[in-house]
Amino acid sequence: MILLSVATFKKGVHPPYNKQYSSNKEIQQIPQPDEIIIPLQQHIGASLEPVVKRKDQVRRGQLLADSDSFVAAPVHASLAGEVTAVEKVPSPQGGRVLAVKIKAGGDQQEELAEVPGKEPEELSPEEIRQAVRQAGITGMGGAMFPTHVKLAVPEGKSIDHLIINGAECEPYLTVDHRIMLERGEQVVDGLLYLMRATEAEQGLIGIEDNKPDALKALKSAAAEFDNIEVRATETKYPQGGEKMLIKALLDRDVPVGGLPLDVGVVVNNVATAAAVSASLREGRPLIDRPLTITGEGINNPGNFEVPLGTPIAEVIKAAGGFAGEPGKVILGGPMMGQAQTSLDVPVVKGTSGILVLTRNQLEEYSPAPCINCARCVDACPMYLVPARLEKLAQQEELDKLEEYQVMNCIECGSCSYVCPAQRPLVHYIRVGKAAVTARKKSEQGGS
């Protein structure tokens, strides 16, 4: 009977969660870094124009770059000091990206926007969206989609449910767990603003049932609000995937190529909700974020509040440095995070964790041939056929890739995780997606 009360979706996998390293460590403030690097592209959308130049003195919280485009989120200085350069730096997403470098100096008192701490119902949706955009808030679960864009409900659509994603299904990561425990009220408060912004009637908070304390904390925080429900979901990867969570909580299918709002839902991460609350109550732009640093390769795993732009080397230092020989440094969780080539890359808005795996933990990359065992088919929460997509991507059969719905892949990694032949399925699917996208672009450009 208990099982029945737990919401879930079909398929998926059960990787070892390994959250014990940091799940009971409180979020701490990291020591102030000497230099920060703020990339000007920390969101999906148009790139930003810097509004500061070399040698400028900036205060903490000062706007560094913005764009005229709607689909963009401005960035702010998370450290007071002098701008030493505006140049291309290695990006955590790979490649190079324009960034503002700031050397610490002077008063670190932050500059807050003037926001009269109004209650949600006193504000119009538009006002909330404005404030959220000014604060530069993007999705903090990893995708970094500008939050105000998510909240802008297009004409003809309406939102009935606003879901706060507290599933945190990525193994190792515990930061959302800690946020819910330590800042539960802020999360619920953020949810109320988000509901107001989208005019959603119902707020839903989904939390995997391996975090009973967080469930309890949020239930009590939300107890006074009738229109907010806190629900347990099955501990299963990728429960935190937007589409999975919607399926689990509301049993709605987000259409292929569509967004949650097509089924009347908006999903936000708990950290995002907390940031929304902070921006509306205190006028605080998104300049710090909590994250988990963990893994077998870290001496003192824990959860830290980190100024954006802090090089990950600093965070690693704060967590006691490497334990043993580091093999992989991953931004994000082990299932979807990105392995880094360098420790100079900065923490950005979507960095929910830094995972360090030791060299000894890594297996040799030696994929065997696919034997059609179909474990990937049985694991894929999106009902795709990864084994086939891999082959189609190899052969660059773009028409068939589209026919097989390659664009519907959420890159959760379940297929690669279960593959007995160690096939780089997700990697091939990404190649395929990139090729399909490129073709679409060139077709649009051509016509």
């Binding site: 140049e87 990006s91 790979g94 190079r96 880094q340 360098s342 091939y428 090729a435």
Partner: protein, 329 residues
């Protein structure tokens, strides 16, 4: 028994006439305007409609050939002869331009370029770049998996021991496949006669390049300054060569302090104006360093101090009165 002859004659005659009438009727009634080249290609083909090419009949194949979907060699029945004729038909317009060859705009192989990390995954440049992973620190550099080896339909690209692709000039047909494929856009088509190549694509500032690549362009602009014909231009920290202007003198390669520029041609070691000079002054006008002096209608002289041995005078002299000595570098 004679009736057999009669019946045979009549019945087959009637049947054949019937067939012919049908065919003639069909070819007129259902005449459709088509790409004339398809018709021509169809004429060249055997017309046996055997399907061995994989298409539904010769006409279908002709259409595919004209659209460039299938190589001219794919009609097994027609053999080489048909392939040649088809190539002739389709190549008619392509022949006019100068022969081009794919060139690689990166010289930083495993030895020259600093390594950043060790990549494990699909051994393909496209795959590595699709997730933004690269082993080398230089984010503009050749990823070194050699996708083009497979991409090149003419086997004109092989990977060398240093992890860089090598284009074999004799096999390259400038089909543009490698240019399209390379995720870092490191291939360009240059004239086959071109002897100078700036083999770098990095837009990083010189100080960054210096740290991560031994042969990367550090944007010192020396080549720009030395070029007698202004064929080199700095574009965002990178020297870019205009093949149309280049005269293949090799001066830039000589000057480049980091050896980014390759010169395959023959460097002029000695140049002088012979007695054949008619004093047309053409060379003097063209000389980029004003090293040629002399009155009109008299034999000109080259000032050895000033001369940079670019060879322009040799090229422009209308009466071949300039002699040069070359030696391979």
């Amino acid at each position: 028994m004679d009736s057999i002859f009669l019946y045979a004659f009549l019945s087959m005659g009637v049947l054949a006439a019937f067939l012919a009438a049908g065919l003639g009727f069909a070819s007129r009634t259902f005449y459709v305007e088509k790409d004339p080249r398809v018709e021509e290609a169809n004429e060249i083909l055997p017309g046996a409609n055997c399907g061995a090419c994989g298409y539904a009949g010769c006409e279908n194949f002709a259409e595919a050939v004209v659209r460039g979907e299938t190589p001219v060699t794919s009609c097994p029945v027609g053999g080489d002869e048909v392939a040649e004729k088809l190539a002739e038909l389709l190549g008619a317009e392509a022949e006019t331009a100068e022969k081009e060859i794919a060139r690689l705009l990166c010289k930083g192989g495993r030895q020259e370029t600093a390594k950043n990390a060790s990549y494990q995954g699909i051994e393909s440049c496209v795959a590595a770049s699709a997730i933004g992973l690269a082993e080398k620190k230089c984010s503009y550099s050749c990823l070194g998996f050699g996708d083009y080896e497979e991409v090149c339909p003419f086997d004109a690209i092989t990977m060398n021991d240093n992890g860089l692709p090598v284009v074999h000039d004799d096999k390259c047909t400038a089909c543009n496949k490698c240019v399209e494929k390379c995720p870092h856009d490191l291939f360009v088509l240059g004239p086959a006669s071109g002897q100078n190549h700036i083999r770098c694509s990095s837009h990083d500032p010189g100080k960054v390049v210096r740290k991560i690549c031994e042969v990367g362009c550090i944007a010192c602009t020396q080549c720009v300054r030395v070029c007698p014909v202004d064929a080199i231009e700095m574009q965002d920290n990178l020297a870019v060569l205009d093949y149309d202007k280049c005269i293949n003198c090799g001066l830039c390669a000589e000057k480049c302090p980091v050896n980014t520029i390759d010169f395959y041609g023959e460097k002029i070691t000695e140049i002088e104006i012979t007695e054949d000079c008619i004093g047309c002054t053409k060379c003097a006008q063209e000389c980029p360093v004003d090293a040629i002096t002399g009155e009109a209608k008299e034999r000109h002289e080259i000032d050895r101090e000033k001369c940079i041995k670019c060879g322009i005078c040799y090229n422009v002299c209308p009466v071949d009165a300039v002699d040069k000595d070359t030696s391979r570098d």
